[in-house]
Amino acid sequence: MESYLFLIPLLPLAAFAVNILLGRGVIRDKAHWVAAPAVFGSWLLSILVLLDLRENEEPLRQHLFRWIPAGDFHVDVTLFADQLTAVMLLVVTTVGFLVHVYSVGYMHGDGGYYRFFSYLPLFVFSMLMLVLADNFLLLFVFWEGVGLCSYFLIGFWFKRRSAANAAKKAFIVNRIGDLGFGLGIMWTFWTFGSIAFYGEEGVFARAGEIGTGTITGIALLLFLGACGKSAQFPLHVWLPDAMEGPTPVSALIHAATMVTAGIYLVARAHPIFEQSEAAMLVVAIIGAFTAFMAATIALVQNDIKRVVAYSTLSQLGYMAFALGTGAWVAALFHLMTHAFFKGLLFLGCGSVIHGMHEEQDIRNMGGLRRFMPVTTWTFFAASLANAGLIPFAGFWSKDEIIVGGWISDYQPIGRIVAVVGLVSAFLTALYMFRLFTLVFFTRSRFDEAHLHPHESPPSMALPLLALAVPTVLIGFVGFPPEDGPLHHFLEPVFADEGIEPEGGEVASLVAFGQEDGHEPAGGDEGTAEGGATGAAADADHAAEGEHHVSTATTVTFGAISTAAALGGLLLGVVAYRGAGSAAEIVARDRALTRGLYPFLLNKWRWDELYGRLFVRPLSDLSTFLWRVVDIGIIDATVNGVATGIGAFSQRLRHVQTGLVTNYALAIALGMVVMVGVYLGLFSNLFR
């Protein structure tokens, strides 16, 4: 039944092979006819997987071959698809396919057209393998694979210096995360003797048997990897620069799919994370901090893609803090909705940039709704979704995350991050509508006589429309909150563990509600704090089931976050309405952010800090090692040895005199020496 699984990654791989081999000479500008149908095929098969899993809950497996046999230890290449995988498959192939279609228009006429349509399916292949992997090592291989594709595609226009630098930056920053991930895998292997996810010998089944210190260490290392890939603080600096790549790439890789690999990893490894409260705490704090920081930076950026990029960072932060508070399903729900609306936002950006003839600065835009209606209204829908307005997709998932934080049993941190989440939600709406207003409304701030913006061709407009549908509607797979079809679908993945945070949470809440002083371990402080701040929300806690939160809480938070979003939206529209010139925009930015403006504009100065702390010392050290150690010592030694051998060789060759008597003498001498030494040392002749 599951024997078709291998086709899902194979189709894009085949497309890659065909295009990279034949693209340059034969296929050329028809490369999309190879790539897009292949990804479409994967999409159809992914739907098949989804349907399969809905029918019976058993995960699908397909053993392909044994990759590393080493005694007792072996690594198999086995494709594995459970409900979590199925959601990821669907997201990757849907957005992937639409981006392929979109790129036909966007990349039209580019010199590297076939190259683009080789890397893109290669990326899809790697990403699909990543989510289909059934052990850490295989996952890691394709983790690196998507990183490589990302590098290729960020630096796609490698002749542009900034693009090449951005590609390098992305690659190097990711190295740090991957180092952590690699160490985490090694530690896992060292501890468990296995790197398989599931099964009796699998890591997850035995996660509870390990000491807290070890499991925390492993979890944190894995999360370091996730931080790199999902651009969480402190490894977030590469993602905004990655916008140097072609915009469809930003949409697919740096918004919808690859950057969610870190979220996927943590969700996949949740049995490990659940064993360590400290690790969960770190994940939650990092996530919340990233969500907030990125949102503030997005407020004042002027590059259209950078605003959206920081928005991506911020939303990934939301997902991370959902993970950290144990709201696994909420995190995945947001991952899914985000993939669609952020993909749409980026494609919209691309459409704008395309229509504006490669202009990216929003200070030079304005009033574009008159020229590109489809872009405008799809962008509008995506902005609303991103801002989290009811009933758009982002509302449902973001709201669930905030509620999840509030009621989490990791307190007080859960409540703090929930509040941070609310503040960030306000900021999100603010920057989204600053952007939307400045780009599509206000007066046009470019010379209309010279620049004629135009709506994009159908191949670009259709994917916009296609993505607008899930952007508006996909939230309803999570409706009603905590009890939607998505929750039931994902339940087998997150419910089969012995120690269940939701279970603990319900226990704690019940305990709190009855106020009988019966506190579960580790929850006392939180409950006390909760008692002070959250009385209204906790009115009705006789929870019906494990995953359910009271309607009152949900509605209250729905109302609060809607209010926050609406407030941000209105402020964004009002504050920037009628901005007529670039200077005026800056003035309004300054008015809004006060003294923080330079700080925010410079992205909290992380780049400068890292430059001074790491890059400069490292570069100095490298120069030292190069000039002194490498050239002075190593090269000198090696060259010295080579020269020495050469000179020695030249001398030694003169031994070969050509005179046969000399040769005979040498033989005789050799014999005499040997006989002398041996008779003296080893015989009883002289004893």
Partner: protein
């Protein structure tokens, strides 16, 4: 399998079929040379040689796994016989393919028929050594092989270099033979027998429990090693090698660098392992020192050579050193001195045998490409190889394969062979073994310099002139076959080949115990 020599009624001719086939081939060639029209010599005799060696190779299967002796122990058909005969016969086949057209076109040469006859006798001598069970047989085999090779060296009898090389080879060769036979005489004197197993049995009692040896035994051992060292071309008994290799026609050099060397190693294994095995502790270190000196000297001096053929001569000295490492880490605990059924063979000897096979294919291959280029009017210096890749890409590719294999780069057979030797050296678990393993690795790095220099010149330099076109079908087939074998045999069939090489040292224990008991 028990060997009851006294019960054998008479010579078992059926046991010697491959050797008899080569002998028959030599006779046929002699008659053909004498009675056939001169014009047909080249084609017919080449064909006859190919068929003869092919037949002999095929007949090896009749000896496989029999492990018997005949002629009162003079002739043994055991695992060593089969494996080394296989190597020697394959080398003979390849030599015929490589030399046919080259020798035919050589100026100032002897008649072509004599070339094939001498070749056949040299091969026969080597086969005899491989199958020898007695000191006399070893010596006769070595002399038969050597005498034919001396003459082959001077095959282009009007060329001064060839004659000079041959003369040096001959003079030093008989010098070394004298030393060898002197050593054998001491062995006979000390043990009272020329039968290898008999010697071992006698030594078994003579050496038991004594820390220091009788001087006569040591002298016998040392003289033997000197004589064999010359045949193997071990430093400092190697001096004939560069001059003789350089002087001989290239295909003859290819032959000389392999078959007499294989015969020398056959004799060394028979003598040291089988007969003088009980004195193992005395010769292991000596061989280790010689192995180190040989590979160090060969590699270092090869660096200075700008003549490719001479470079290959020194490289073959270096490879002798690598092979001797396999012998130097011989440590079989079975054999004569320890009872109990030893199961595994000896890794050292096995790796040595496998190395000889690998060396045969890649070394003849390298010389074959040199010969192929000489056909087309190129010289022997590095400059003559300039830009080969652009004018004759296939030849350059084949040469690259052989050189990489000689260097020991995966996945070639040369890598696999070197790997086995290094593994055996490390597994010997002695300081000497470890030192030798490290030496091999370090000196292989040195060797990379002179091997890769040729590759670099072929691929990166501009071609000096356009070459002649020539048709050499047999040579082309030979080079192609060797290149493919060099590339693939390290990965495919290596298990079977190593198993075949391992058979003898596995069986040695059994035979020895049976002999010792009887």
């Amino acid at each position: 399998m028990l060997v009851e020599l006294s019960n054998l009624p008479g010579p078992d001719w059926g046991l010697m079929l491959p050797q008899l086939a080569v002998f028959g081939l030599a006779l046929v060639l002699l008659f053909g040379d004498a009675f056939m029209a001169r014009a047909q010599h080249f084609r017919v005799l080449t064909g006859v040689s190919l068929v003869g060696y092919g037949l002999a190779t095929a007949l090896l299967w009749t000896q496989d796994g029999r492990n018997e002796a005949t002629f009162f122990g003079l002739f043994r058909a055991d695992g060593l016989t089969v494996f080394l005969s296989l190597v020697i016969l394959v080398a003979a086949l390849l030599t015929v393919m490589v030399s046919a057209s080259y020798v035919d076109r050589l100026e100032g040469r002897m008649p072509i028929g004599e070339f094939y006859v001498l070749l056949a006798f040299s091969v026969l001598g080597a086969l005899m050594v491989a199958a020898a069970g007695d000191l006399v047989m070893i010596f006769v085999g070595i002399e038969l092989s050597s005498l034919a090779t001396y003459i082959l060296t001077a095959f282009a009898k009007r060329r001064l270099g060839a004659v000079e090389g041959a003369l040096k080879y001959f003079l030093l060769g008989i010098f070394a033979s004298a030393i060898l036979v002197y050593g054998m005489a001491w062995i006979y004197g000390a043990t009272g027998t020329t039968d290898l197993d008999g010697i071992a049995r006698a030594l078994q009692t003579a050496t038991a429990g004594d820390e220091f040896l009788e001087p006569s035994l040591l002298l016998a051992l040392l003289l033997t090693i000197v004589g064999l060292g010359f045949k193997m071309a071990a430093v400092p008994f190697h001096f004939w090698t560069p001059d003789a290799y350089d002087g001989a026609a290239t295909p003859v050099t290819a032959f000389m660098s392999v078959v007499p060397k294989a015969a020398a190693f056959a004799a060394t294994i028979r003598l040291l392992v089988q007969a003088l095995g009980p004195m193992r502790d005395d010769w292991l270190n000596l061989i280790a020192v010689l192995a180190f000196v040989t590979m160090a000297f060969g590699n270092v001096v090869a660096v200075a050579q700008r003549n490719v053929k001479r470079m290959l001569a020194y490289s073959s000295i270096a490879h002798t050193g690598y092979m001797m490492v396999g012998l130097a880490v011989y440590r079989q605990q079975g054999g004569f001195d320890v009872g109990g059924g030893a199961t595994g063979g000896d890794q050292g000897v096995t790796s040595l045998l496998y190395y000889i096979l690998a060396y045969t294919v890649m070394n003849i291959g390298a010389f074959a490409v040199v010969a192929w280029l000489q056909h087309r009017g190129r010289g022997l210096t590095l400059d003559d190889f300039a830009g080969l890749a652009s004018t004759q890409p296939l030849a350059a590719a084949a040469m690259t394969v052989f050189l990489l294999s000689l260097m020991g780069i995966p996945p070639t057979i040369g890598f696999r062979a070197k790997y086995e030797v290094i593994l055996a050296a490390i597994n010997a678990d002695t300081a000497a073994g470890l030192a030798l393993a490290i030496s091999i690795v370090v000196l292989s790095a040195v060797s990379a310099f002179y091997y890769l220099r040729v590759v670099a010149v072929m691929y990166f330099d501009e071609p000096a002139r356009t070459p002649r076109t020539e048709s050499t079908p047999l040579l082309n087939v030979g080079i192609g076959a060797m290149a493919v074998a060099t590339l693939l045999l390290g990965v495919f069939f290596s298990g079977q080949l190593i198993d075949l090489a391992d058979r003898w040292s596995r069986a040695l224990t059994v035979v020895a115990q049976a002999g010792g008991g009887g």
